[in-house]
């Protein structure tokens, strides 16, 4: 592998891994946000579903 091959490998791995981490973090963030909103909604309406 030539010099640019090593450079490309390093830059590719670093920005690829950072991008994957960012996507995973965003997904975890959205899931937690949804769960919190759902919990808060049921907290505000504790008698929902009960007659």
């Amino acid at each position: 592998m030539g010099a640019w091959g090593f450079v490309g490998l390093a830059y590719g791995i670093v920005w690829g891994v950072i991008l994957i981490y960012w996507f995973c973090l965003k997904r975890r963030y959205k899931e937690t946000e949804t769960e919190l909103a759902r919990l808060k909604a049921t907290e505000e309406r504790p008698n929902d579903g009960k007659k």
Binding site: V7, I13, V14, I18, K26, R28, Y29, T32, L36, K40
Partner: protein
């Protein structure tokens, strides 16, 4: 019904866009504008990733150190969330530093890895904070896990001065610093275009780091809120 964009979300979006812009500018300077090194040639361009990555990791562990110390002192949940968030991103940047170093090592030293003092101490740093994250996920009692992790977070930080001084204290394959030298100013030792590329790249990493940290911190806050609501409901 349409909802207005929340101010914090808007701020995070602007911060993220700024980070992206700085990273893109850093990439352009690192790969196009900066000249190749006189001795190492093009492969030296890995330095524009390697140095900002490890400095970002050090900053992250400094925040773990501060957050852990504050948590042990004041017992405030927000300090623990800060330490936990910073540790996670610190592990990411330390792992990337080791990978970049390994790719840089092969064409310059002829090996992917060697048990050099600096490399070994950096691997130990990664193991300490990976252990920190494992400890947090394995212990069921949240408060005990936070206390144990805070102690480990503080002890682990002591490895960083050792890493920095290792190239002076032991005979190592890793070169001594080119930028952070006690005897010379950075611009006396490095070509201005290289120094500019490094500075822009570092700013890009910093902005990206604080953007990721703000997301991860808010995630920790929301998880704490969920736990509190569940406990409240169970009581």
């Amino acid at each position: 019904m349409a909802q207005p964009v929340q101010p914090t979300k808007k701020r995070k979006g602007i911060f993220g866009a700024l980070a992206f812009l700085a990273v893109a500018t850093g990439l352009y300077w690192s790969l196009v504008v900066a000249p190749p090194d006189a001795y190492q040639g093009e492969v030296q361009r890995i330095m524009y990733l390697h140095l900002p990555s490890i400095l970002t990791a050090y900053l992250s562990y400094f925040l773990v150190f501060i957050g852990s110390g504050m948590y042990l002192w004041k017992r405030e949940k927000r300090d623990d969330i800060l330490a936990h968030s910073a540790a996670e991103i610190g592990v990411l940047f330390t792992a990337l530093t080791i990978i970049e170093g390994s790719i840089w090592g092969k064409p310059t030293w002829g090996v992917w890895w060697t048990w050099d003092a600096r490399l070994t101490l950096t691997a130990i740093l990664l193991l300490i904070y990976a252990g920190y994250l494992m400890l947090r996920s394995l212990m069921e009692d949240e408060d005990r896990a936070a206390t144990a992790a805070a102690v480990l977070g503080i002890i682990g930080f002591l490895d960083i001065p050792l890493i920095h001084m290792s190239v002076y204290w032991w005979r190592t394959l890793h070169q001594p610093p080119s930028i952070l030298r006690p005897d010379k100013l950075p611009w006396e030792n490095v070509h201005p275009a290289m120094l500019t590329a490094l500075a822009i790249s570092f700013v890009g990493f910093l902005l990206l780091y604080f953007y990721l940290l703000s997301l991860r911190y808010r995630l920790g806050e929301m998880r704490a809120e969920i736990r509190a609501l569940r406990l409240q409901r169970e009581a």
